[in-house]
């Protein structure tokens, strides 16, 4: 998808080259009629429904869905909340690509183009654009929580900025579940859902394993090992779609999943590291 470069060259945005052919010459209109195809239906079936709908300057796809609701389809189901890319509710697939509807500006599309909006296709559909994202909440519960260090009272936590940077990047996650949606491990193979936590929750494991004060190991929990054995890290074949769709720009693959794989190797496949830790433990 190209960015809105056609806009910046002209004084008024949305009057760019995209309007060619649909507007009377010399009159760059601030609004136009767009062609939308929106998936409507529920668990019993459904299909793409055609709409012609007005689009104004500066709008995003979610605005258009709202206009459809207010004017043509009052019962069109859609999940949304903050409309500013901060809550991660309005996840859907626009022209086949997983995206947040509130962060997809209409100006990135050619005006003559048909815009197809469907629910996320990795999860069971509830109705129209709303899917059952329960899978993610189930997986969230399977990741053991932060283990506070013993003997450190609240207010006495001391952490250096460079030590929290990595986990902070992962905590930018708004849980839009687009990475979970696009990941072919579960998107294309329903049967893997039981064994695979998905990028979002493997990233959560990485976040906790890199947390400077997480005391899981003292409590007998080896996150490096469980990432592989209980959360299905091995299913990830690092094809990076999670990183590609992340609206927060988190480098999920490079910074969370691959480092986690390397940490799992430390535990499970690297005799040198194993030997080293044995010797060090004896030395203590």
């Amino acid at each position: 998808m190209t960015t809105a470069t056609s806009q910046s060259s002209e004084g008024s945005p949305a009057s760019g080259a995209a309007s060619t052919g649909t507007e009377p010459a010399g009159a760059p209109a601030t609004s136009y009629e767009a062609h939308f195809r929106v998936w409507r239906g529920d668990t019993d079936g459904g299909g793409l429904e055609d709409f012609r709908v007005e689009v104004h300057e500066g709008e995003v796809v979610l605005d258009i869905i709202h206009r459809l609701q207010a004017t043509q389809a009052p019962d069109l189901a859609v999940r949304w909340n903050c409309k500013a890319g901060k809550c991660g509710s309005c996840s859907a697939e626009i022209n086949g690509r997983p995206r947040l509807m509130c962060m997809t500006r209409m100006s990135v599309f050619d005006r003559a183009q048909t815009i197809t909006v469907t629910p996320m296709r990795a999860f069971p559909v509830v109705r129209d654009l709303v899917t059952d994202v329960g899978f993610n909440y189930t997986k969230a519960r399977e990741v053991p929580a932060f283990v506070p260090p013993e003997g450190v009272a609240p207010g006495e936590y001391r952490m250096q900025q460079e030590d929290v940077d990595r986990s902070q990047e992962f905590r930018k996650c708004i849980e839009c579940f687009l990475c979970q949606d696009t990941c072919h491990v579960v998107r294309d193979h329903e049967e893997n859902k039981a064994a695979f936590a998905g990028p979002r929750f493997l990233m959560r494991v990485a976040e906790l394993d890199m947390h400077p004060l997480d005391a899981a190991e003292d409590a007998g929990l080896d996150r490096k090992r469980t990432a592989q054995e209980e959360h299905g890290l091995g299913y990830c074949n690092i094809t990076k779609c999670c990183t590609e769709v992340c609206p927060e720009g988190i480098r999920i693959t490079d910074n969370a999943l691959i480092p986690l794989k390397e940490r799992a190797v430390d535990r499970k496949y690297d005799p040198l590291v194993w030997l080293g830790s044995k010797i060090r433990r004896r030395g203590r």
Binding site: E93, A122, V125, D188, G234, N237, T239, D254, K268
Partner: protein
């Protein structure tokens, strides 16, 4: 209600699974999503064809002072004499075929298990997935959980060996500051080709994800290891360009080999700078 389609039988698998939104198309992307995997596959194939030919040809790999990176180090009895070059007869005379095979296996395994190349060939050759949100053709998928793909976990060992290989290639580059009579202090166009190649090889090698982990990524408290933290930062910068470096070094190594081939086969003579 929505334009009617019939309720569909369940468990057709993947995005057409019964409980998901009833859309028959395997994907609805309208951009040229196939371009990237197709280009990747074409590029890798071209390299495979070229390198297979060159590796098995067992000829035209030395033109003093240059030795093809495909044949360095040369470890069998049947190697050409390279006058101070990296030919050490570790394998003896029983080795009958091209000596390149002995050595190429190491950079090959490094690249084969590399996190970037894995993505490239899983997508390009295996269509797993072909592109994001494009349904893959396979019925089942177990990723890297079992043999043989679980072997990808040895990447860090291939990295250690790759360091040795890069060391030898550095040695070759140093040797390229000689003339065809092995006198020091000279430079030809080939020297520049070798220099560019070795810089890219090192950059690619150091940008490796395993390297990033070993250097500092495995630490929990960067603040307690300031030197390793800084090194981790540098490697991280390179690592962000891992893909570009992977391609650049792949091309440069082929170019370096091809340059030696041109010289050795007499098709071209090395322009000497001084």
């Amino acid at each position: 209600m929505a334009t009617g389609t019939e309720p569909r039988p369940s468990t057709t698998g993947g995005v057409r699974e019964g409980n998901r939104a009833a859309i028959d198309a395997p994907h609805l992307r309208i951009d040229r999503w196939w371009l990237a995997p197709a280009a990747t596959a074409a590029g890798l194939l071209a390299f495979i064809v070229y390198s297979t030919w060159r590796a098995f040809s067992n000829a035209d790999y030395y033109a003093a002072p240059y030795v093809s990176p495909f044949y360095s180090p040369c470890l069998a009895d049947n190697c050409r004499d390279m006058a101070g070059g990296p030919n050490w007869d570790l394998f003896g005379s029983w080795w009958g075929i091209s000596p390149a095979i002995i050595v190429l296996i190491f950079p090959l395994s490094f690249r084969l298990t590399c996190y970037y190349y894995r993505k490239a060939y899983y997508r390009g050759f295996w269509a797993s997935p072909p592109a994001c949100a494009v349904a893959e053709p396979h019925k089942s998928y177990s990723g890297e959980t079992r043999f043989p793909l679980i072997l990808q976990n040895i990447h860090r060992y291939t990295f250690y060996v790759a360091l040795l290989v890069a060391g030898v290639l550095t040695y070759d580059t140093v040797l390229s500051f000689r003339d065809e009579h092995h006198h020091w202090g000279h430079m030809g166009l080939g020297t520049i080709v070798f220099l560019v190649n070795i810089v890219l090889i090192w950059a690619y090698t150091f940008s490796c994800h395993s390297c990033r982990h070993i250097v500092g990524g495995r630490l929990r408290h960067f603040s307690k290891h300031p030197v390793r933290y800084r090194m981790w930062g540098w490697v991280g910068k390179l690592n962000a360009r891992h893909m570009q470096l992977a391609w650049a070094s792949l091309i440069s190594v082929a170019v370096a080999d091809f340059y030696v081939f041109l010289l050795a086969s007499g098709a071209f003579s090395d322009p000497r700078l001084f």
